[in-house]
């Protein structure tokens, strides 16, 4: 059964130029112990869809969905108390920018103990012990001393680990990690990814990893959802996605990877992602798609069945030949 189940999630922002649809009819399923990667270019709605799930969007956002449930409980109808039980405890998130989510005025120790105070009944001694244990778990040496440090006294990699320590403080059942390594060097990135997947293995929690890095996806995820312009355009197990992408956008993205290049000139995707004011009529990828025809330009494509990667496309790639 799905731990997190979202159906037909749409998020619109009221902006000076009118309503802007940042997330468009997205479905998400992630099970206990599963690693789902959400991949897509910047602005494709990865963060907004997860912030909506966490209930962390500003009032300018209008959220609609047919279903948004965690472990069977409707996330939109939670009472204040039930909400605190789940958000930040069973369902935790690591944000894209560690420095913007750690409070510069408090020591890391204070911030971790505070998270524990809000969500557990540990006493103050136990909270301190658990804080030391957590920092050690995330690979921060000399934990007691580091707990007395302020965020600006630690490196980016250290702060990212502090964030992870805070997020896992209450043993979440699902951890959402939003670009947790984008700002870090590769050797530190490797350590953080190993840490996250290790935690996931040891505790059996579910993990949603938001990233734009296909290498990170390939090495970390079990299943991958590809987003484009606010829509999920494909959803497949990781090996299948890389071997037989069904959506032309996924295929084009993979072809553009320098490491897959067969010639000096790289494959490109012409044009840019549509903006608020030039959203196409039919398929959102049609202005850039090499297979687009009149139907693509006028009729929004259906979501194909799971065997075809749930591709949102009229003409999914690698489809079995239809007998005439």
């Amino acid at each position: 059964m799905s731990l997190l189940r979202i159906r037909n999630l749409t998020v619109e922002f009221a902006t000076g130029g009118g309503q802007f649809r940042a997330v468009d009819s997205v479905d998400v399923d992630v099970g206990e112990g599963e690693i789902l990667a959400i991949v897509g270019e910047s602005g494709s709605g990865k963060s907004v869809s997860m912030l909506a799930t966490m209930g962390l969007l500003p009032w300018t956002a209008t959220i609609t969905a047919d279903e948004m449930s965690f472990d069977g409980q409707d996330l939109r109808r939670l009472s204040g108390r039930a909400r605190r039980q789940i958000i930040g405890r069973d369902l935790a998130m690591i944000f894209q920018e560690p420095m913007s989510s750690l409070n510069p005025c408090f020591t890391t120790g204070f911030q971790i103990r505070e998270a524990l105070r809000q969500h557990t009944d540990l006493n103050s001694r136990q909270r301190q012990d658990r804080a030391v244990e957590l920092l050690t778990m995330v690979g921060i040496p000399d934990a007691e001393r580091r707990l007395k440090a302020f965020p600006h006294q630690l490196s980016g990699g250290m702060n990212q680990r502090v964030m992870i320590a805070m997020a896992i403080a209450c043993r979440p059942r699902l951890l959402i990690a939003d670009e947790p390594t984008t700002a870090l060097d590769v050797t530190i990135q490797a350590q953080i990814l190993d840490l996250l997947t290790g935690l996931q293995r040891d505790t059996g929690m579910g993990l949603i990893l938001i990233t734009h890095d296909m290498g990170v996806v390939a090495e970390t995820a079990e299943r991958v959802a590809v987003q484009y312009a606010g829509q999920k355009v494909e959803d497949q197990p990781v090996a299948d996605l890389f071997a037989t992408p069904h959506h032309p956008y996924t295929a084009a993205l993979l072809a553009a990877l320098p490491e897959r290049a067969t010639e000096r000139r790289l494959a490109t995707i012409p044009g840019v992602v549509p903006g608020q004011h030039d959203r196409p009529q039919g398929c959102l990828f049609s202005p850039r798609c090499q297979f687009a025809d009149e139907r693509c330009r006028t009729v929004p494509p259906p979501v194909q069945p799971a065997e075809l990667g749930r591709a949102r496309c009229h003409y999914p790639l690698h489809a079995p030949e239809v007998a005439a």
């Binding site: 490196s155 250290m158 050797t187 490797a190 990877l257 000096r264």
Partner: protein, 326 residues
């Protein structure tokens, strides 16, 4: 072969730091003992993690800072301050973040013409504009873009504007400081192709600074791997990537995720973090994090030497790699 555009010999740059309330002043060797040559039409990539000296090197090559040690010359002319004015047109830089590096209040046309206004006083307004428009065509922008402001462009197009501006004075050398790191994958390949086209057409030399090894592997001819301000390995790209000799290079390569699910590589795990540049260990700078460290590593600084390409290590990875290939 043509003369190198850029030659660095034992180049170094120190900074005095600290001397605050309690700290005693120290000397940071941001770059040290760095030598290389770069020829027209070639790309030399400088790779390494943050703090390894990449940006300091870029600032010296682009005449923003003077070296404190060693020699640097561009087109055969030493980069001493007396020569900066005449060298200024030979070398230009493109930064990672096109937003930060463009004047947002200027129209594209004015941005492109500005270097000419400053450095080519002999040119008429009409000539400047012709040159600007020609450059826009060259980098794949449309004529109507001339009168627009940077905010009206996407990240990829802004990077085209930055490249166009850098080329206005017809430099022989471009320093590209993480030029595609801020761009999405589909745009990244457009800009890399543009850089390849321009290099072929204009014979440009690129000093390509990047932490993204898959991009470097695609675009570079030669590679310098830096660690804590010094080169630890240098050589032709294929050799360095296929037969890395320095343990740090191997660790870096093994940490770079590859877009191949189930490739099942062994990742070399590095202990600890980059030491503070104020406290570079006396022997090999990598010794505190290396898995092969012996006493000699902690005491004696290894020279950058050996074949088939030089690496600064007492126990280079030669046998390991041979064994793995066997």
């Amino acid at each position: 072969m043509s003369e190198p555009v850029l030659i660095a010999e034992d180049l170094g740059r120190d900074y005095e730091v600290g001397g605050g309330l309690f700290g005693k002043p120290g000397l940071v060797r941001a770059v040290t003992d760095t030598s290389f040559t770069l020829s027209p039409g070639k790309t030399l990539a400088v790779v390494g993690e943050s703090g390894c000296g990449k940006s300091t090197l870029a600032r010296m090559v682009t005449l923003i800072e003077e070296p404190t040690r060693g020699k640097l010359s561009i087109a055969g002319i030493p980069t001493v301050p007396e020569n900066w004015d005449r060298l200024r047109t030979e070398v230009q830089i493109v930064f990672q973040d096109p937003y930060g590096s463009l004047n947002l209040r200027q129209r594209v046309g004015a941005i492109l013409e500005e270097p000419l206004k400053i450095n080519r006083r002999d040119m008429s307004a009409k000539e400047r504009q012709e040159k600007g428009r020609e450059m826009m065509r060259l980098v794949g922008l449309r004529p109507e873009h001339y009168d627009r402001y940077p905010h009206m462009f996407s990240g990829g197009q802004r990077q085209r504007i930055a490249v166009a501006r850098a080329l206005m004075l017809e430099p022989r050398l471009l320093v590209l400081d993480e030029p595609v790191s801020a761009l999405d994958l589909s745009i990244q390949s457009q800009i890399l192709n543009l850089l390849l086209d321009l290099q072929e057409r204009l014979g440009l030399a690129y000093l390509f600074i990047s932490h993204d090894l898959s991009v470097v592997r695609h675009i570079a001819d030669d590679v310098v791997v830096m660690y804590l301000g010094r080169p630890v390995e240098t050589g032709p790209k294929d050799e360095v990537f296929e037969r890395p000799r320095h343990p740090y290079t191997r660790a870096l390569l093994s940490a770079t995720p590859r877009a191949e699910p189930g490739a099942g590589r062994r990742r070399i795990e590095l202990k600890g973090e980059l030491p503070s540049p104020l406290n570079v260990p006396p022997g090999c700078p990598f010794a505190p994090r290396c898995w092969k460290t012996q006493d000699v590593c902690r005491e004696v600084r290894p020279a950058l030497e050996g074949t088939p390409h030089p690496a600064a290590c007492h126990f280079p990875e030669d046998e390991v790699v041979e064994a793995e290939r066997a």
